[in-house]
């Protein structure tokens, strides 16, 4: 068993809007061990990005607020740290890369300046040493002519190159945890593979754990040790990567897996999950997935299932596997 690095327990992040309170993250538990890559999968609006922003405490300027639960990182409760202590962790021990490489870099500052900021802040490197470290990082992420690129501006680089810069920036202080929020979604398929390969290589070399947020199960299969499937602000299934792909339990996970095309099977139509994610203001009672579920039965609409073990290192939130509970009810 590897040491626990990040433990999210019963996290609740709500958004306060004029129409009401939106429980974007509604009691989420996720554990990430040292050096492990954990995929967080789900449709848009399931709360996966909000979970990551809660960990980074970057909900400022959004109407969102963490209202319950705890986030332990290396034994420290991130939610109770002062702003100053949190800044020392951000970009240093926990780094983050975002979905949009085109807009995630400041257009009026040079690449070098933007990476140097983190290096100066957390490693205390200044001047020539900082410059050398930046060039080293740029070379590490496979950027050609690194010496020139440091003095260039983001608009002079392609999307793939910018995402490499983001990775260089994130990895520049050797973080223990890298949160990657859809890091390849905005990139060409060929570039996607390169970026994933790079993240894999760096995390192996530096023993960096990765929290990989994506809606792409192909990316998950490529990268992850473990997968957490989220739906409507809750974790609905969690398992080892092989277990999940070979033996999915939750109807939602099954649906997601059926929607991936497979080379060896000849099918005329891909599977799809009917309906859409429920409006978070009007989530149904009982199981949140019930209205779209192919295996739904009456009790699903009344009783909210718990996240319970269904096998070794495999948990699922579905009444199908909770017959005892159902009988009791």
């Amino acid at each position: 068993m590897r040491d626990k690095l990040l433990t999210i327990e019963n996290l609740k992040t709500h958004f306060f809007s004029d129409d009401g309170i939106v429980p974007a993250v509604d009691g989420v538990n996720i554990t990430i061990k040292k050096g492990e890559t954990v995929g967080i999968v789900g449709e848009s609006g399931c709360g996966k990005s909000v979970t990551s922003l809660s960990v980074m405490r970057l909900l400022k300027d959004t109407p969102g607020r963490v209202v319950g639960g705890s986030i332990q990182f290396k034994g420290k409760d991130l939610l109770s740290l002062s702003d100053r202590e949190m800044r020392n962790i951000r970009g240093n021990e926990i780094a983050m890369i975002f979905q949009e490489p085109m807009t995630s870099l400041n257009p009026v500052l040079t690449i070098g300046r933007q990476i140097k900021e983190a290096v100066g802040l957390h490693l205390g490197l200044e001047g020539k040493k900082a410059h050398e470290h930046v060039i080293e990082m740029l070379k590490l992420v496979g950027i050609p002519r690194a010496e020139e690129i440091v003095n260039e501006y983001p608009h002079q680089l392609s999307g793939g190159m910018r995402q490499r810069v983001m990775i260089a920036m994130a990895m520049s202080c050797k973080p223990k945890l890298l949160i990657a929020d859809e890091p390849t979604t905005a990139l060409d398929v060929t570039i996607q593979a390169q970026i994933l390969e790079l993240m894999k290589k760096l995390s192996a070399e530096e023993e960096t754990a990765i929290m990989l947020i994506t809606h792409d199960l192909g990316v998950v299969a490529e990268m992850c040790d473990r997968v957490v499937v989220m739906y409507a602000g809750k974790v609905v299934e969690e398992a080892d990567i092989y277990e999940l792909f070979e033996n999915p339990k939750h109807p939602y996970t099954k649906g997601l897996l059926q929607s991936i095309p497979k080379l060896r099977e000849k099918k005329n139509r891909l599977g799809s999950i009917p309906g859409t994610v429920p409006n978070p203001l009007e989530r149904p009672p009982g199981c949140k997935f019930a209205p779209r579920c192919s295996e739904v039965f009456d009790l699903c609409r009344e009783v909210e299932p718990e996240l319970l073990p269904v096998g070794a290192d495999h948990q699922c939130r579905c009444l199908l596997y909770q017959r005892d509970l159902v009988k009791e009810a």
Binding site: M56, L58, K60, D61, D83, R87, N88, I89, R90, G91, N92, A95, M96, F98, E100, T103, S104, L105, N106, P107, V108, L109, E117, A118, L121, H122, Y153, H155, M166, M169
Partner: protein
């Protein structure tokens, strides 16, 4: 960059030519007979006609325009019809007071405007924001003659720190420049606030925070550098307006500036002075625009002048 600069400088000449045509036509459309004004109310028709001939006002318009332009190219802007002094002297003595007053007003305006704008944007919907925007609305809506009189009352009459008017020393600049700068500061503050508030929603601001930067650094370094780009345009325009002189401020503070010269000249139909002043204002705007465009290139690396 240098080539671009030269190109733009050369571009000023045709613009000035076109502007001069419009100015010439507009000035001649002002009703009233300048020859009659120069000759005086009691002059006979004959006197008026001889004055008209002397001033070459009897010639066809295009000839008048041609001699206006030719003289100007030779540095001769004519003589004021009212004072008979060369126009260039009339303007020179008024230009520097207006210029320095505008510069000082801009210094206040940029200083206070940016500060209020940035604080308001980063403390959105908190008391700092409300206080800042209350000040800005007051700055825009309080009439400048009233604000000027209040400042005179407080700082000149009561406290005796600054002169009540006129132009004697650096102290004379303080009150009029504060009065003039208040309105501009308010505009800059509101502009900076809205621009910065948009910028603070950008992804790269979140990147800055994710790096562990202090919020102050995120706002002033990453935010403001981007937010300033539209603010600079607006500030340049405001400076252009200030350089035209302000009749209200000049009247309240007894300031020897261009605003009063222009109004006096218009009421006297002093064609040579009006024409030269308008040409000067046009030139000021052209130069300010050029400076603003060059500043763009410095501030926004995506704009490169080749």
């Amino acid at each position: 960059m240098f080539q671009y600069f030269i190109k733009r400088l050369a571009g000023i000449i045709p613009i000035l030519m076109i502007v001069s045509i419009f100015i010439f036509l507009f000035v001649h459309m002002i009703p009233g007979d300048p020859a009659r004004l120069v000759a005086g109310q009691d002059a006979t028709q004959q006197d008026v006609e001889s004055v008209r001939k002397q001033l070459e006002l009897d010639k066809p318009l295009h000839q008048q325009y041609l001699s206006f332009v030719t003289n100007m190219i030779h540095g001769d802007f004519g003589h004021s019809l009212k004072t008979k002094r060369p126009v260039i002297e009339e303007i020179q003595s008024r230009f520097m007071p207006t210029f320095w007053l505008s510069v000082w007003s801009m210094v206040w305006a940029v200083l206070f405007g940016l500060l209020i704008g940035v604080v308001s944007a980063s403390k959105r919907n908190k008391w700092q924001d409300y206080a800042g925007m209350f000040g800005a609305v007051a700055g825009i809506s309080l009439p400048s003659f009233w604000m000027g009189l209040m400042l005179i009352q407080l700082f000149s009459v009561k406290l005796g720190w600054f002169p009540t008017g006129g132009l004697d020393s650096w102290k004379s600049y303080v009150l009029p420049s504060l009065t003039l700068g208040a309105g501009v500061a308010a505009v800059i503050a509101r502009f900076t606030r809205s621009s910065l508030m948009d910028i603070l929603k950008e992804d790269y601001i979140r990147t800055g925070r994710a790096k562990g930067l202090h919020e102050r650094k995120v706002v002033w370094d990453h935010g403001l550098k981007n937010a300033l780009i539209p603010v600079v345009t607006m500030t340049g325009l405001q400076f252009g307006f200030l350089l035209g002189g302000s009749i209200v401020i000049e009247t309240v503070f007894g300031w020897p500036g261009l605003g009063r010269l222009l109004v006096d000249s218009v009421s006297f139909r002093d064609y040579p002075v009006i024409q030269s002043l308008m040409l000067l204002f046009a030139l000021e705007f052209i130069i300010i625009n050029l400076i603003v465009d060059l500043l763009y290139g410095v501030m926004n690396p995506q704009i490169r002048y080749e």
